[in-house]
Symmetry: C2
């Protein structure tokens, strides 16, 4: 098992070398909540980190809160009020990673190695002031470098940072991935993201048993996959990795199998036309009916949604008939209630006819860098849906992605049919 693991590290180092000559032997490993869910798992991760160090690396481990503890903390806060102040929510949630870094550090000491743990504030993960969804603006990694130079294993709390006023912030769901990539960027290191999945798959293996693990995927493909429902990595972490040229690998903390490497497209060995089919059941559709079709209307509607901090995904405006039009768009289901409020205000202001809502939708997407040079992918996708009797409600495309909104109950049928039609299953690539 050890050999396989070492082989992977070698492989990663090789790739790393391609990206930047300045890369040192530092590796940043990120362990998610399920990897540190209990004492036994913490011990296992500790061994893994010590093994990596013994193989000659300097290790920085970025850790999430134990198991479901973040959810448990939020539920405590919500027992007090449905809308707790975000600064205090961040104070509360940040205690979660503080617990896991300390325990992991203690577990490493128990193995005879020296580890030192740091909160986000202590290692200078400086963010903006958007509590609960803060963005990293700077990483002041001096303390990490100093401790690595003393031959210590450095454990850093993921998901959290600190404002210039020394208030604690959190980075939103999956934020630990971004912490890891940001630190790797600053240290010119490679970044391994460990979780309970073995890598990036051609489709969600929970619904498509024949889904295949990808060896490689480009940053752009990964961005589209993350944006269209693949939950393996936080979107922002991939953007950060791409922008700073950080070689990333997604792999399982429960096995020593190699995972999926995320690379610049130019460094990929093979380029498939389609890399994967993703789906997203977490969106809802809002339609404004009978909107006057004149300049500035869309700006008003989406401006007020943006002010309300609601992420709008797909937007479709139908052809105008007699000066009025319909506008449909999708928002995260969690934001539907707030979105409704804002849209109903807009309906009155704009003298539109009304609005409708549908949270019974799914977004199914095809992602592949090869799409750019292979026309006809969209046509084939629509054909597959037609054959299956699946109605398409909205369509949105980019150069390497096609997304269709369909009825939620058709999700599995649609993903499965596309996975087959584009020969993505195991053994067919």
């Amino acid at each position: 098992m050890l050999n396989l693991h070492e082989a992977n590290i070698e492989k990663l180092t090789f790739r790393t070398a391609l990206v930047s000559k300045a890369l040192s032997e530092i590796v940043v490993q990120k362990y998610g909540g399920s990897s540190v869910a209990d004492i036994d798992r913490i011990k296992r991760i500790a061994s893994r980190i010590v093994e990596t160090k013994n193989s000659g690396k300097k290790v920085v481990a970025v850790v999430s809160a134990l198991g479901d503890s973040t959810d448990e903390l939020m539920s405590l806060a919500n027992q007090l009020t449905p809308s707790p102040p975000t600064r205090e929510v961040d104070m509360l949630l940040a205690s979660g990673e503080q617990r896991s870094i300390a325990l992991l550090s203690i577990a490493i000491h128990a193995l005879g190695e020296i580890a030192i743990s740091f909160t986000g504030a202590q290692v200078g993960i400086v963010t903006d002031t958007s509590h609960t969804k803060a963005k990293i603006v700077e990483v002041r990694a001096e303390r990490i470098k100093k401790e690595l130079d003393k031959n210590k294993i450095v454990i850093v709390a993921g998901f959290q940072g600190v404002t210039l006023d020394e208030d604690i912030t959190t980075l939103g769901r999956g934020g630990s991935d971004t912490t890891a990539v940001a630190i790797a960027a600053e240290l010119k290191a490679s970044c391994q993201i460990y979780s309970d999945v073995e890598g990036v798959f051609t489709a969600d293996p929970r619904i498509i048993p024949g889904a295949r693990k990808l060896d490689e995927v480009s940053f752009e493909e990964m961005l589209e996959m993350a944006a269209t429902g693949a939950k393996v990595l936080q979107l922002r972490s991939v953007e950060y990795g791409r922008n700073h040229g950080v070689p990333m690998e997604v792999r399982s903390s429960f096995s020593k199998e190699s995972g999926t490497c995320i690379l610049e497209e130019s460094q990929m060995k093979e380029k498939a036309i389609i890399s994967g089919v993703t789906h997203d059941n977490d969106e809802a559709k809002i339609t404004l009916l009978g909107v006057p079709d004149r300049p500035g209307i869309a700006a008003k509607v989406f401006g007020s949604l943006a002010k309300g901090n609601i992420n709008v995904d797909m937007i479709i405006q139908n052809v105008s008939e007699q000066g009025i039009t319909d506008i449909s768009f999708t928002v995260p289901k969690d934001d539907l209630a707030k979105g409704k409020e804002l849209v109903e205000i807009a309906v009155k202001k704009l003298e539109a006819k009304g609005s409708t809502y549908d949270d019974n939708i799914a977004k199914v997407s095809l992602v592949g860098a090869g799409m750019k040079s292979h026309p006809g992918v969209a046509a084939k996708m629509f054909e597959v849906f037609a054959e299956e009797g699946i109605n398409i409600e909205m369509i949105s495309t980019s150069s390497i992605k096609i997304s269709c909104v369909i009825k939620e109950e058709d999700t599995v049928k649609a993903v499965s049919a596309l996975h087959n039609a584009f020969n993505l299953e195991r053994g067919s690539a």
Copy 2:
């Protein structure tokens, strides 16, 4: 109920005014773990704090970790190793108060008031580097003052601080009391310590049902009581209060009854000869037998114990016979194992005859400022023990305290007999 509460605040303010003319209307309230053990209790404390603010005060609340969470965290650490590194233990434990301050702050927001929570590091509770038992060296209260000036309720994590290197420290058991008093000293405020007891009693009410709550007690008496087993306040917090002239009140977070005020002796209205009987079952006795009686021997023995960070309490050296002597002393039971080790090394080095250990002891003490001017208290104490057939193993005195070490099983009998003999029960004062 509100009136009674307000009356108490008035009373405290009156006393406060006696101590320093510079006192502002700030009150520092400390809530222990049992006061914030669950969501309902947190809500109750939040109401109490808001009430205090509405009565015209500026409030700083210092909070301990929820219920038994500190013990639970230590047990997690001990599942990894019996001797976790203390820096990492502090990182782990400090997460506990971070949780409770955030929840309390959220609970106050739910009541429509603005609160802001801070970790020890954030409000500049600067300590030395003795992890797990750090001492406060400075309180940089600028941020607290700034937020109080904005009319916010300030919530501060007790028990924790930060070194000049930005490492998180904890202050040891009961450390939140010291945090509260240290902040009160810096803000020239008064300090209320809320816990699950109603105040300082003439004896432990759990074993002496007739024990009486004291209205007042002097700093010196409180110091002796804390040092001899009264668990109501951490010794160091009382020292801090005395040294900085912080008027303190110990009271229950579950009732609105007034508690016990801790004052300068000169400000007390009545001075009892004896204020209370305390007992301590947490010590063990070590005896070095046949030690050569020459200068420097005691320094060697106790020097090595001090280096091992073991707090030695009572020390008795018997009269020397033929150049050899016995030395007995008490240490906390928790330190007995380590103490034994060090003593056995000393026995060999000093060529002493041997050593004995007894953890079946109790220290029972009489404390009272009036003792200074009333001779005969010690004689009466020994008489009471003689009448009850209780053997005295060690005796130690100060100007306002007499302590006797007896067999542990005689504890209740001894405390009860002294409590009666010195007329301390309810109604007799």
